[in-house]
Amino acid sequence: MNALLSLQNISKRFPGVLALDEIDMELRQHEVLGLIGQNGSGKSTLMKIIGGLHQPSAGEMRLRGSPVRFGSPLEAARAGIGLVHQEQSLIGNLTVAENLFIDKPTDFSRFGFYRRGRMNDAARIQLEKVELDIAPDTPVDQLTFAQRQMVELAKVLSLEELVEGHLIVLFDEPTSVLTPTEIQALFRQVRRLKMRSSVVFISHRMDEVLAISDRVYVLSDGRNVAERVKGATDPDELYELMVGRQRAGSVLPRSNPPDKKAPKRLAVRDLTVPGKVEDVTFDVASGEIVGLIGVQGSGAEAVCRAIFGVEDSHSGHIEYEGRPVRVSSPSGAVGLGIGYVPAERKAEAMMKGMSVCQNMTVTFGSDYGYGGLLLSKRRERREAANWVERLKIKTPSLDHRIDQLSGGNQQKAVLSKWLLGRSLRLLVLDHPTRGLDPGARADLFNAIRRLAEEGLSIVFVGDTLDEMVTLSDTILVLRDGRLSQRFDDVQAKRPSEEDIVRAMV
């Protein structure tokens, strides 16, 4: 087989970090290449190098046998290379059409003036490919999250018309925020694309990777550790190659079921968030893990945010440890011993530019000081170090900048911000595993499980049914903002996934 794109000894060094360490890779024509690896193993960096966003520190990249070097995404696009980023990359106040062609060589502007008619016509063709029925001049910030993801897809597909010849399309974790329907639509497109292109596909879900890829590379610590051909491997082997330990039993079973007679930690009565949630009622016992699930937009996220006091308005009664409370701001919630890990880690949970330690101690650091006002840096550092060890947070030091950690480790640091609080009694987790590799996810689940056993109550919104069933003691299913069903004692009598799905629709 002839290699379309080959990388030889590619290294990438960031200040203080060797992200890629002499990677060799080969992409053939008409193939889908899967790429897996733990958080921080260098997958995105590799994609960005191919896509022209980063330049390698060393090594050579050959396209159809001749060496190439892309100075910008535009140059890469001219060579037929398109990249779907890990994070959404659409610009909210531009139109769909403008976003589609922002990084492409087009002739939609003359003397700096846009020719909107032509651009919108071209955009319509792309939107049809992904079966999206929206006007091309809609500003992107009016789209739903999933619609945007489809626009991202259309954005890369538009290379088909703009560039002659064979394409290379790079997907960096496109599925982590998609629903299964959308994943199927994506896969259909990928299979269609194979006719005239080669695809690199990154995901943390082994089964997805196996379902779509012809070949799989496994990255670890910036090195290429294995290559497997489809059919000659299975998810467990891939997992092992990636994480380096057995998959089975990675999440520990619960040792002591929550005490049903224990006092209620939280009682939510008739919670209504206008336009999102209606009359939701449930209890959380101490030490209980309550999983909330529903399709996107079913209100689970709004319930979490209302409990933490960040919904702009809500009605209903919330009782906390037997007392009626009105939580109207996060500081109020924190005062009650409630913590919240939001889904939007980058924007809402992490103070970029500050150190791991500073991020961990922002909320409860003063508990380790004197009188709640004076700080003791020594004591709080000791406590932070303690949690770094307990959660196995991979960081060079406590003073490393948090945004330079891998996603999973960022998530663990964010989680430990709450765990530092001695007074924390209820932790609300909103999609805490989004973007985490399987190993990190298992670590996180084990940590959560352990904390629940110690008496912390947890409200949890997960990514997949599997997660919910693995972790929850009680599962509440939300449909269109209302509670449609509850499953008790999940760990003892596992509900079938069909049952749960039925309650969701």
């Binding site: 919240y340 939001p342 809402e348 992490m350 103070m351 530019g353 500073q358 922002v362 700080l375 911000k417």
Partner: protein, 324 residues
């Protein structure tokens, strides 16, 4: 670096970091050296002493203005507040004597806190809010003083103190140092200080971590206002006359001082020592330009160019992702 130093300054990890951290101080030393080279007479204790005395009002404003900037906000009203409180003190002294001073400081704190609180409640940019209060304070200062200078007799103990010297050191400068030490301790060792930096680094993340942002914003703006009022009183103690516009021109030099020290206008990075250095740099540049005998307009040009150079050298671009 030795482990001890590394512990004390965790953010300094390489020679580049060190250079950048010391950049503002190096700029100050260079400017000072240039001034000494032009006019060796400046090295006399009396001369330095007089300079510090003059610099005190500006320095205290620079220190106060730093807190809103650490949040990523800006307080354009500080200089107007300084004039306003000087006028109000002068008007209140005949009635209340020395008590006028603490009264006005308390009032300034209240007004500053209200300002900070309103920024949060109304959700309008601090630039706009304080532009509005800038107009408000200067208008009120004109109105209350009936647009005239108000003389201040002797015998107002706090102001006499500010205008005096202890062991030859100007008390106004001692006050600056005291405020600087107090606020530095506050920023470094208390929860308020930590929250201010957290707020500056990411307001949303800090809010979601339980930082009481209205409270923090109110604190920062209250401190800024108190410092401004104190600056106004220092000025008053020097001139013994208050005028409704006497400190208005300190707005820009104060901002220059904050930024020239390396405090990022986007918040979260920098501190009071930086501001003190920046403020002293701003003062020394003016002194240098004066002593060098540059014509007035050329002094402004030189000042502008030095600001550009100083900021170009000292801005820590690694910590600010996107510069606005």
């Amino acid at each position: 670096m030795t482990p001890v130093l590394a512990r004390m300054f965790p953010s300094i990890r390489s020679a580049g970091d060190l250079l950048r951290a010391c950049g503002p101080a190096i700029v100050l030393v260079l400017v000072f050296a240039a001034v000494i080279w032009i006019a060796p007479g400046i090295l006399k204790w009396r001369a330095i002493n007089a300079l510090l005395f003059d610099a005190a009002p500006l320095l205290i404003l620079v220190i106060g203005s730093t807190l809103p900037v650490l949040l990523g906000c800006i307080d354009l009203s500080a200089a107007a507040m300084a004039s306003f409180s000087a006028v109000v003190v002068a008007l209140l002294v005949p009635e209340f004597g020395s008590a006028a001073v603490p009264m006005v400081l308390a009032g300034a704190a209240g007004i500053g806190a209200a300002q900070g609180w309103l920024i949060g409640r109304l959700q309008i940019p601090s630039f706009v809010m304080t532009l509005g209060t800038l107009g408000l304070f200067s208008g009120l200062a004109l109105y209350l003083s009936n647009a005239s200078t108000v003389g201040l007799g002797p015998g107002v103990a706090p102001l006499d103190f500010l205008g005096g010297r202890t062991h030859g050191v100007p008390n106004a400068f001692l006050a600056v140092v005291a405020v600087w030490i107090f606020l530095s301790l506050l920023l470094r060792f208390t929860r308020v200080g930590r929250d201010i930096y957290a707020f500056g680094a990411s307001e949303l993340a800090a809010y979601m971590s339980g930082v009481r942002r209205d409270l923090i914003r109110s604190c920062a703006f209250a401190i800024s206002s108190i410092c401004a009022a104190l600056g106004g009183m220092m000025l008053l103690s020097q001139t013994l006359y208050s005028a409704p516009t006497m400190a208005s021109n300190l707005l820009l030099p104060a901002l220059v001082g904050v930024v020239a020290g390396g405090t990022a206008i986007s918040g979260g990075v920098g501190g009071l020592s930086a501001s003190l250095i920046g403020g002293l740099t701003a003062v020394m540049v003016r002194v240098g330009a004066t002593i060098a005998g540059l014509p007035g307009a050329a002094q402004d040009v030189a000042f502008g160019i030095i600001i550009l150079v100083a900021v170009a050298v000292t801005t820590d671009r690694t910590k600010i992702g996107i510069v606005k």
